[in-house]
Symmetry: C2
Subunit: 139 residues, 2 copies
DNA sequence: GCTAATCCATACTAATCTTATATAGATTTA
DNA sequence: TAAATCTATATAAGATTAGTATGGATTAGC
């Protein structure tokens, strides 16, 4: 039960943008150096962030990426839901039809409740909570 | 971010044993039929459950498997920790040395807190909570 | 117009993990 | 003696992950 690096990197990218938002659009190359993530992989990760309206971009020279929302408005929950193919702990939580017993399955309800508790926590943690501190560029 | 089937099956096995604890030792063949898990796979899954002292076994004819603890004493948290190779959401939570920035990384602390909240919930959910209901043998 | 930059799509791959199944027995006890 | 657990290891198919590679199209500052 492990978060994908995409979620972890996604969080780091947004924290990086939040930290550097005073200096105008932030270029992928800069993020790449600071976060040690390849430019090409960053391109892949930023795309969904843009689709989700968490990031906007400026094209052309001096262009780059900017947070589209205030850091207080972006939560880890949003990021994780965006990047995890399956955001529930078990499939039958969101797709009860995958299991013939789902109707009155106590175990399913337990996985569902645990998933909910987890996301309550993630949803209440924002980029703003994470951007302070002594340059924790990692994880 | 998905639980392995081993955790899910582990929970189902223990619930099955709890439900059938009045009829003496429960044989792997019976569990296999009820839970639709192969005998050989069940053997693999029961071994760690025994090592963790959640199940005891009786050998020989009429033998089988019995819960070693009361259902109220076995939690989903124990099961998940037992079966998930990595029980934290991200590696650096338990192994900060994996990341050079772990010392004062805010993001790491957030993943740690989310992991903790999740396990608080799993630890407070017991097999006893799951064994009632209309035969939910699945998930 | 040149160039720095984002944007887009897709393909490939290496490695790892998952989910079993298979094989071949040793041991225990009704 | 036979039903059952126990042990250990090997194999394999499939999925997923984490990236890299390829090859460009587009935008806009200078």
């Amino acid at each position: 039960m492990k978060l994908s690096t995409r979620s972890r990197y996604g969080a780091r990218i947004l924290v990086d943008l939040a930290r550097n938002k005073d200096q105008g659009p932030v270029q992928i190359g800069e993020i790449s150096k600071r976060q040690d993530i390849s430019v090409k992989y960053l391109e892949q990760l930023i795309r969904p962030l843009k689709k989700a309206n968490l990031v906007t971009s400026v094209r052309g020279p001096k262009g780059g990426h900017i947070l589209a929302e205030k850091p207080e408005k972006i939560s880890l929950g949003q990021i994780v839901r965006l990047f995890e193919g399956q955001s529930d702990l078990v499939e039958c939580v969101s797709f009860p039809e995958k299991c013939p017993m789902s109707d009155d399955c106590q175990v399913r309800l337990a996985w569902r409740d645990a998933t909910e508790v987890l996301y309550e926590k993630l949803d209440s943690t924002t980029i703003s909570d994470l951007m302070n501190g002594n340059k924790p560029e990692d994880d």
